[in-house]
Amino acid sequence: MDGTPNQAAGEHKLPAEHYLNATYGIRSWLLTTDHKRIALLYLASVTFFFFVGGIFATLIRIHLLTPSGLLVTPETYNKLFTMHGVAMIFFFLIPSIPAVLGNFLIPIMIGAKDLAFPKINLLSWYIYIIGGCFVLYSFCTGGLDTGWTFYTPLSSIYSNSAVTPAVIGIFINGFSSILTGLNFLVTVHTMRAPGMTWFRLPLFVWSHYATSLIMILGTPVIAITLLLAGLERMFHFGFFNPAYGGDPILFQHLFWFYSHPAVYIMILPAMGVVSEIIPTFVRKPIFGYSFIAASSIGIAVIGFIVWAHHMFVTGEATYAAIAFSFLSYLVAIPSAVKVFNWTSTLYKGSVSWETPMLYALGFIGLFTIGGLTGLFLACLGLDIHLHDTYFVIAHFHYIMVGGAVMGYVGGLHFWWPKITGRLYPEYLARAAAIILFVGFNLTFFPQFILGGLGMPRRYHNYPPEFQVLNVMSTAGASILALGYLLPMVYLTWSMRYGKIAGPNPWPSTGLEWKTASPPLTENFHETPVVDWEPYDFVHRPDLGLSGAKAPGKLAPAHGDD
């Protein structure tokens, strides 16, 4: 279509002009307002933080090879797991899919030239970098040993580490999330191309819409909470420390009011990625489009009223605990609906085994285990046994690494041809996906058993009977590390040497595949008009697949315009 010559011959060429070669020089990147270039700035910076967090994780796993701890002092160990959590959660997971893939794709997917506020988009990145610098400063000048949860009064009074710069960094970084969320919401509301009704939106956009709601409603709360903890630390204001008349439980309520919804900030975009990958690689419409879209919103809404399930053993009122347990079980339903619909989409499909599909199916398996083990922790009677053990660690990593990171890496592979215009080596990529899947399970499955046995989290040493399972976990982690290094290498390699992809290599049905790869700075030569239903392969003769009928037999467009 736009600017893409028909490639009947099979060999593709990069378009003459695209967003990567439109301008040159460092200034053209640091002062860009192109959402695609900003996405790449984010790609570089979240990869950096992923690497930092990954090094901490590696050291943690090596240290835990022996019951008495192999590598570092207790103090250093505590800093390692804290900094691992802070780097990964606030500076990798939360921005990863929204700020990289969402930034790059949302405007193209809805047929817009850019986000609604391009300069604010760039500002978001600078805020992220400033926040990140504060946190790195904290890591380099004494480190941080409070746990990523910053529980008071440990963080506000007793810790001797560099808490204040870290808290300031996370406070600042929050504004980056808020502005990104705001930008997405306004863009989706106001900049959809003609014919792009709400119910023709790709599910990736729906899930980012839900994520953005959480970002703008939840992030201010964490920012204020950490600010209060910082004020207590710096000026001894009595918010949380009982010695000053405060209450440490108040901090936990405020903290989890954001930080529980924040796990949905991390997982919802990955669900959006999977909802794009699966229809493409089975070449049929996604099963239950409106149920998947509605479940994203359902998760975002119910996710806000489950926070105190992190506090079942703080001595909170029994009635409150019962209410929060009930609500936590409710939020399981929209997640289950998604899994059932993805699985059903495979039925009678034309399933291809390409790399993004392997990640998507890996995601379904791992997210299912992560989600199901959440049922243990939502259960009041079991939580009194499993709370604060390795069971929680395993559950959390199944959702966050098995879910969110698998979704992110799968999404990178899926859209890599669009982002760079080139393909990666397919068989190497499939091998990496399988290595990741195996390494991941070997790392984290033993931790469920450790948790059931009662091994508490955040322990730099442990009773000897837990050693075998810990060694298994460390062995898995080394496989996992290989699984992450491989894509870093071959994706980087492919940027220069990969095969030219063409505009729609899979092919897929979304608007982003109707423009060149890489796209123009303005995304489209002329504003596209959407006259097909999402994930419809039948009425799309332009995809060059068999069994296609002429367009025009449109199902009645549902939703408003």
Binding site: T318, K348, V351, D383, L453, G454
Partner: protein, 326 residues
Amino acid sequence: MQSQLPLYPESASNFAPDVDGLMLFIVSVCIFFAVAITIAVIYFFFRYKRKAPDEIGAPIHGDLRLEITWIVLPFFLLMAMFGWGAVIYVDYRHTPSDTLDVYVIGKQWMWKLEQPNGRREINELHVPVNRNVRLILASEDVIHDFSVPAFRVKMDVIPGHYNNMWFRPTKAGRYHFFCSQYCGTSHAIMGGWVIVMEQDEYAAWLAGASNSGDPVEVGAKLYNDLACSTCHEPNGKGRGPSYNGVYGSKVKLADGSTVTADDAYIRESILQPNAKIVAGYQPVMPSFQGLVSEDQILALTAYIKAQKDQPVPGKPAAGEPATGKK
């Protein structure tokens, strides 16, 4: 006692069979769904493998009956898990009245425990088998958590709060306890052993050498040293209420409400005396926040507890006794 690769902890309290039964139920449901989904994914993956490069899948958009089924059916299963879990939790949070009370103080990075007769322990807890035991938990600094995996219970230990936990050990033996709420540098070594003894052994152990004074005596000394005695005269004529008969009674407050004089009330009255003013007295007591340690509060509580059978001064037997604060 321990295999190289244990898969499930020992079961040694009244809660363990309940929790394990529930665990088995949830594990079964989860394995069923995980296996069903995995088999479906793998089966579809091979069964519908693309045969021709330009092939497309069947244009199926969804099925309302299926959607309703997989919303409603899981809902009932989830509610079963929720209900069963809530029953165990309510039982756990409702301490029976016939408990043996042990006071537990967490501080960076050790546990100080005190038996009912004042015998002190560090990082060890001796309890008799088949007896309901209540732990009354207090922290001197940050949040800790007292966790006994073999009993399947834990509870946070929070500064400024008293938390309770209870269990009934069912099997003699030695079991790990851990601090399971991260509390700083040496969090991982802040643990110890729960030693469950036969009842007669426990009685003999308890009667053995006590390494500190009887808490009532310590409390009596503090009562004089901290000058509590100048206001809280036993005869009820001081500026503060007498301790006689206070513990466990209903205390009438200046605002007309009543409160039960339990451990938490006494603690609060020492640290924030003006939070609850006993009817008929002025709010003149200074706060002892920062002046008394958690140990000393426990000793004072023990002393006040010991006065509960002393004659209540002044008022005749009719009506509410003039009881109240320290």
